[in-house]
């Protein structure tokens, strides 16, 4: 898996150290006396040197991948937890999809209130200029692997507010979107279909690697 195939924002990874086994750029030994205290980037470098590179060079990683990939992918597929975030009227349809009639929880879709515990960000309404930095922060707070569902016309392209002075013309102008669900508002069945489409996408595209970078 090359570096370009890694999902997520590559800018987030810049500060994480060199991640190489090249001796010139390898981590220096901590000064003696306080060698137990590592900064987080030092720890990540240590993990790279001691675990990742060894597993990669010896071929252990490929072997373990072959075993764990179906299991990890199955786990990702059937527990896509969305963020419990409502922007406008599509949020009511999202609530209806979680209610007893449609019951999205039978597909493992459990709404969580913290972005740290979530895999999916559902953008269910128009994103105005004041909301955009907050929504981007929420997206960046979510842990990899993560996906974005643009729900409804407003999130796809601005909807009826596309040329407004304060509404952003589509969520994909500032974050990568995986599934687009048209509708105004989106019916709960369509949202369920969007979750199933995302499951299909995870089955085909997401490797579910052991020791992902």
């Amino acid at each position: 898996m090359s570096r370009q195939q890694v999902r997520g924002n590559p800018r987030m990874r810049k500060g994480l150290g060199s991640r190489t086994s090249d001796p010139a750029t390898m981590m220096e030994d901590p000064p003696s006396g306080d060698w137990l205290t590592l900064r987080s980037d030092q720890f990540l470098n240590w993990v790279d040197d001691a675990v990742y590179n060894i597993a990669e060079k010896t071929g252990i990683r490929d072997v373990v991948n072959r075993v764990t990939r179906p299991i990890f992918n199955w786990g990702l597929r059937y527990s896509p937890w969305p963020l419990h975030l409502g922007i406008m009227c599509c949020a009511l349809e999202m609530g209806a999809a979680g209610g007893p009639d449609h019951d999205s929880e039978r597909m493992g879709v459990v709404y969580r209130s913290s972005p740290r515990q979530c895999d999916i960000l559902i953008v269910n309404g128009p994103v105005c200029e004041k909301l955009r930095p907050k929504l981007k922060t929420l997206y960046e707070q979510m842990a990899d692997p993560k996906w974005v569902i643009a729900m409804g016309e407003c999130a796809i392209g601005g909807g009826p507010y596309w040329d407004s002075y304060s509404v952003v013309a589509g969520a994909d102008t500032f974050m990568p979107v995986d599934v687009y669900i048209p509708g105004c508002p989106v019916r709960p069945e369509a949202l369920m279909h969007g979750f199933l489409t995302l499951q299909k996408k995870i089955r085909e595209k997401e490797p579910g690697y052991f020791l992902r970078r």
Partner: protein, 151 residues
């Protein structure tokens, strides 16, 4: 007090004109902006209008018009509409936040979207749009440019 009697008494005030009765408990009056400060003090202290329901700003192309809605919170529920005409080049008026605290955000909204400047307002800044937004978008002469930003 009857609404007709109320409007008639208010029309006696300096700078007031166009007093009329719209419905059985709704009156309407116009006031010049120079006289608005003392007029609103009278309205609050002598006539007992204790609630500022709404402040709307209207762009009439030649100038701006402010429409205040005041009410008395009691069984009769009398309301009064106060109109103030403002010139287009200097849309300023005295703030009424020292009389009705609830007028604070109404005035901020009128400033934000229509660009009316309220003199004496404690914290006149944008309330709906993000800080740093250029212009006042509900004005008729506002020109909108589509903003694009790469992610």
């Amino acid at each position: 007090m009857e609404t007709g009697q109320l409007v008639q008494q208010l029309t006696q005030h300096d700078g007031a004109s166009d007093g009329s009765v719209l419905r059985s408990n709704v009156g309407r009056i116009s006031i010049t902006r120079e006289a608005s400060h003392s007029f609103f003090s009278t309205l609050k202290n002598d006539f007992g209008f204790d609630h500022c329901s709404l402040i709307s700003a209207v762009d009439n192309q030649t100038g701006f018009e402010l429409v205040y809605h005041f009410s008395i919170v009691d069984a009769a529920g009398q309301m009064l509409e106060v109109h103030i005409d403002l010139p287009r080049d200097t849309p300023t008026v005295d703030s009424i936040t020292h009389l009705w605290g609830g007028a604070d955000w109404h005035e901020r909204e009128a400033y934000d979207l229509m660009g009316i400047y309220f003199i004496g307002h404690p914290d006149l800044k944008r309330v709906l749009l993000p800080d740093g937004f250029a212009g006042h978008p509900l004005r008729k002469d506002y020109v909108y440019e589509i903003h694009e930003e790469e992610w």
